[in-house]
């Protein structure tokens, strides 16, 4: 059945060493500058003389551009250039695109011949200030020929639908069905097949800071230097260089701190390309900072937008046998990451359960909307929601306790390979569930639920979900969708250089490492401190740009902590190896008789004969003649840390190999009350227990759990990019795209469980996405539990008051 090699697991590590810094909730190293208002975000770095760009956005969802008149705009005060989509198509190649058929669903930084969504840019003005640039935008005349818009993904896939890309001859950008294991047999043997149709509408990261770039084209060298708050996949930046029609070694992209991302700044190159194009056209430094409407309508980072038809094969005793998933995903007008979001789903498609077989059919529909990008969870959070809805439905149909059904199917032996071929490295799902039930005061709330309904006619629901939070993706998930991929890439490295100066002070260089509100500096500082017995606050951290930096992939898929841990471990290992030899040489001892202890190398068991790191460093820096000929001066080393556990998919794709091995897990238990007169949902309690392996900074991880849960609350109840039937974007500002405030987010009771990964330094796993990967599923479960007595079950997110009241009306339960 599978031809994939299962023998390629990395060696199992021994995590028994005592730790001094890893595991401590120290104050973050990053914080002082942000607290003082000196964060250095992209908008803070605009120097005098920099010009400003503003983009003219299409008011039509689908239209041919017949004519653009720019003369008036060009003559407006302070304007240096006006570039139309047609101009841009000459100045630039199409955008970097990992989609299935970029030649036929071609994506450009500005629309050239037709616009494909409301908000798509058709021209850019460069002026002395953003004020003047926007004044000039109003003077551009565009003649459009409106075309019929296609908005509903099912209609987009039907025959005769208007085509978003004529060259593609279809609005289906990708379709394939995968079978893992013996689905037909498992369904034939099932006692019950539970069916449902589920709808998850698109929401998005919407960080408080938009995407921005400051670009400078150097005529002398023909190079671009771009400062931007988006950066990742540096080895793929040759694609962005190609967009700008320069060789890859003439493009340098430098990361600056971002005011949040949640995925929406991942490889978000369009603002950088626009700024760079404008810089070359004007000969000046140009800043392009999206405003909020740009970011909502034109950011290329909307989240998943799915319709599921699911069948779950169950045995009467609650055993889950198999699942058939048929999903349509509305990708919008372009498909820059292909169906990678479904790879994320396949990494943990069976959840924490011993489901034996899976059929997964995915169809990517194109419509006249802003395209999907990345949003915390990258598609796996949707699978979690779908699966947990099905489990609860199965429990109801079988008249079994939903908690018991979950326990009955828990995976308990690790490492465990799921039907798709991915591995779950470690876990203890019972322990997480037990802790969650305890923190949730589960039996108390069950009693309260009953009492409040009987005595006061109130509708309380307890949601309980058990789900996975994968971490550290492999490059294979970009291409195992195709039997004959053009580029079967296998690299997703992260790099760190460590430099020990002549005083013994340590500098860590992070390459193209984005600060998004995750804590890369604190992580690295804690790892370095752990390795070298110094204070994390004494480590100097520097961010290096792309062109002359080591390869890096950046944040995404909760990979940063593990990958930085590996890179620091690797670099530290090399430093210590050289330092050991140097110390041994200075003490005239065999290097094998030396051991690292308390900040230096000593003769084994003899602290009297020791050289501290500082002593070793000054000698290496200044006293070359104290060392053998083959020992170079200085003490700095780098490590390019590649994904430690990736295996290839089988040729028949019945086994996708290992591509997301470090598997976290969580249980969320919200208690909600639904006001059946208004459709309002309020939280009475919320417990969340996460297992992300060994925690580096528990407080920091807890912060991500709360923040991720808050975004999950948004996805579950408030946030939606709403396009009407004509393709108009109705939620184009924060007036209508509703972000939860402090009053919508309850206080969370948080628990930690740690089952270390056998394969990573210290046993760490990623955990940055987990809160959002759990909360929508849990909240939907809670609302359904509350409304069960009324015969109402919600299967569409967000569960707005409108949807809740409509469902109640349909069930004859609302006034």
């Amino acid at each position: 059945m599978t031809t994939a090699n299962r023998a390629d697991a990395p060696p199992v590590r021994d995590h028994s060493a005592k730790r001094r810094w890893v595991g401590q909730s120290i104050r973050r190293v990053e914080d002082p500058k942000f607290l003082l208002g000196r964060g250095g975000y992209i908008a803070d770095r605009i120097t005098p003389g920099t010009l400003h760009a503003a983009v003219l956005r299409s008011p039509h969802p689908h239209a041919r551009i017949l004519r653009i008149e720019t003369a008036q705009a060009l003559a407006a005060p302070g304007v240096h250039a006006v570039i139309t989509g047609a101009d841009a198509a000459e100045l630039c190649n199409p955008m970097p695109d990992f989609g299935p058929d970029p030649a036929r669903h071609t994506w450009r930084c500005l629309a050239a011949d037709k616009v494909r969504y409301v908000g798509e840019g058709v021209a850019v003005v460069v002026a002395d200030s953003r004020y003047l640039a926007e004044d000039a935008l109003e003077l551009i005349e565009v003649e459009y020929e409106p075309l019929p818009a296609v908005v509903d993904p099912e209609r987009a896939l039907a025959d005769g639908a208007p085509l978003v890309h004529e060259a593609l001859e279809s609005n289906c950008a990708y379709e394939r069905s995968f079978d893992f294991g013996d689905v037909e047999r498992d369904f034939a043997e099932a006692d019950l097949v539970v069916r449902d149709r589920l709808r998850w509408h698109r929401s998005g990261g919407q960080p408080l800071e938009t995407v921005g770039a400051i670009a400078e084209y150097d005529l002398g060298t023909g190079s671009f230097t771009i400062d931007t708050n988006t950066l990742s996949f540096t080895s793929y930046l040759f694609m962005a260089a190609n967009t700008l029609k320069v060789p890859a070694n003439k493009l340098d992209i430098r990361p600056v701190p971002a005011g949040g991302s949640f995925g929406s700044k991942l490889f978000a190159n369009k603002p950088a390309v626009i700024a760079a194009m404008c810089s070359r056209a004007t000969g000046r430094k140009v800043a392009y900072l999206e405003d909020r409407v740009d970011n909502i309508s034109n950011c290329d980072h909307h989240g998943s937008d799915r319709i599921y038809e699911v069948e779950l094969a169950m045995m009467r005793d609650g055993t889950m046998r198999s699942i058939k998933i048929d999903v349509i995903d509305d990708y919008g007008a372009y498909i820059q990451f292909g169906v990678g979001h479904h790879g994320n789903a396949l990494a943990q498609v069976v959840g924490p359960y011993t489901i034996g077989s899976v059929r997964y059919r995915v169809r990517a529909a194109l419509t006249n909307k802003n395209q999907q990008g990345a949003y915390r969870g990258f598609g796996s959070e949707v699978n979690n929601w779908m699966l947990e809805q099905m489990v609860d439905k199965a429990a109801r149909e079988l008249d079994l306790d939903p908690v018991a059904v979950r326990r009955k199917n828990f995976i308990r032996e690790f490492p465990h390979f799921i039907p798709t071929g991915n591995v779950y490295d470690s876990g203890d799902y019972d322990r997480v569930l037990d802790k969650a039930l305890e923190l949730a005061d589960y039996s108390h709330w069950r009693a309260e639920q009953k009492r409040l309904r009987e005595e006061e006619g109130r509708y309380i629901g307890i949601g309980l979900i058990s789900a996975q939070e994968r971490s550290v993706f492999s490059a294979t998930e970009f291409w195992f969708w195709f039997d004959d991929p053009g580029a079967p890439v296998t690299s997703t490295p992260e790099s760190v250089s460590l430099k020990v100066d002549a005083t013994g002070g340590i500098t860590a260089i992070l390459y193209s490492c984005a600060f998004w509100g995750n804590s890369p500096e604190t992580m690295v500082a804690q790892f370095v401190a752990e390795e070298f017995d110094c204070s994390p606050y004494d480590v100097s951290i520097v961010y290096h740009g792309s062109r002359d930096g080591l390869p890096a992939t950046g944040p995404g898929g909760s990979r940063t902590t593990v990958m930085l841990a590996g890179a620091v471990e690797g670099a530290a290992g090399k430093i210590k190896e050289k330092a050991r030899r140097a110390a041994a040489h200075l003490l005239e001892i065999d290097p094998d008789d030396m051991e690292w202890s308390e900040g230096g190398f000593q003769v084994k068991g003899d602290p009297e004969r020791k050289k501290s790191l500082a002593e070793i460093a000054i000698a290496l820096h200044l006293f070359k003649h104290s060392f053998p000929a083959d020992m170079e001066s200085g003490l700095d080393e780098s490590k390019v840390f590649d994904h430690p556990y990736t295996t290839m998919p089988s040729a028949d794709r019945k086994d996708l190999g290992v591509f997301y091995p470090f598997m976290g897990h969580a249980c969320h238990v919200p208690v909600v009350e639904v006001d059946i007169e208004t459709g309002a949902v309020t939280f009475l309690h919320y417990a969340a227990v996460h297992d992300c392996g060994t925690l580096v900074n528990p407080r920091s991880l807890a912060g991500h759990i709360v923040g991720g849960t808050a975004q999950g609350i948004g996805t579950a109840l408030y946030e939606e990019f709403v396009y009407d039937d004509d393709g108009q974007l109705l939620s184009s500002s924060f007036l209508d795209y509703l972000i939860p405030s402090a009053m919508e987010v309850p206080e969370l009771v948080i628990g930690h469980v740690e089952t270390p990964s056998p394969y990573t330094p210290y046993g760490v796993k990623g955990g940055g996405e987990g809160g959002r990967m759990m909360a929508p599923a849990a909240i939907n479960a809670a609302v359904n539990a509350a409304l069960y007595p009324l015969g109402v079950r919600l299967t569409e997110l967000p569960m707005t008051p409108e949807r809740i009241l409509s469902a109640l009306r349909a069930a004859g339960q609302a006034g």
């Binding site: 909730s25 104050r27 973050r28 990053e30 914080d31 002082p32 500058k33 942000f34 607290l35 003082l36 208002g37 000196r38 964060g39 975000y41 908008a43 803070d44 605009i46 004020y131 990261g205 919407q206 960080p207 408080l208 800071e209 701190p257 971002a258 005011g259 949040g260 991302s261 949640f262 405003d291 909020r292 600060f515 998004w516 509100g517 995750n518 804590s519 407080r699 920091s700 807890a702 912060g703 991500h704 709360v706 923040g707 991720g708 849960t709 808050a710 975004q711 500002s733 924060f734 007036l735 972000i739 405030s741 402090a742 009053m743 987010v745 206080e747 969370l748 809160g771």
Partner: protein, 165 residues
């Protein structure tokens, strides 16, 4: 034809300024670019998110929906005025201690709003703090550690006041 400008005089973090501004110049842009105080950030530019919050005569306002000319004669306080002689304001220190920030972008506005909250009520309950900070959106933290930080700062500020009297 150059746009007409107005002369405004205002005090920012205790420093007097006289400046020529276009009437349409938003206060947030004036502070960030004309006065070189980039600590106040822009989130939405339509007065919803509160990222741009500063104090005007001690009262919190949204500087993205205020023209600089409207601040003529006023005393403005921004995040840059919180720390003194290298020492963090108790709110800033508590935000660090409790990890009440992740990306830091909403933080200056949140700090200024917190100053107003504690000036009005030096001993708030967590529920009161949570209700009061609902004016300022945060996309990272989920508000829990921010609430803890404000409560922590309130206690320290009360103790300092009591010690002084």
């Amino acid at each position: 034809m150059a746009p007409t400008t107005c002369t405004i005089s205002l005090t920012v973090n205790g420093h007097p300024h006289v400046a020529e501004v276009e009437p349409r110049r938003l206060l947030v842009d004036f502070l960030r670019e004309d006065l070189g105080l980039p600590g106040t950030h822009i989130g939405c530019e339509h007065g919803v998110c509160g990222t741009c919050t500063v104090l005007l005569n001690g009262a919190s306002i949204r500087s993205c929906i205020t023209f600089a000319v409207q601040a003529d004669g006023a005393e403005i306080s921004t995040v840059e005025g919180l720390a003194h002689d290298g020492e963090l304001h108790p709110l800033q220190d508590e935000f660090a201690a409790k990890q009440g920030l992740q990306c830091g972008y909403c933080t200056p506005g949140m700090l200024m709003r917190a100053c107003e909250i504690l000036a009005e009520n030096p001993d708030p309950t967590p529920a009161q703090v949570r209700s009061a900070i609902a004016s300022n959106l945060c996309r990272c933290t989920g508000y829990q550690f921010i609430t803890e930080a404000v409560i922590g700062a309130a206690a320290r500020m009360r103790a300092t006041k009591e010690a002084a009297s």
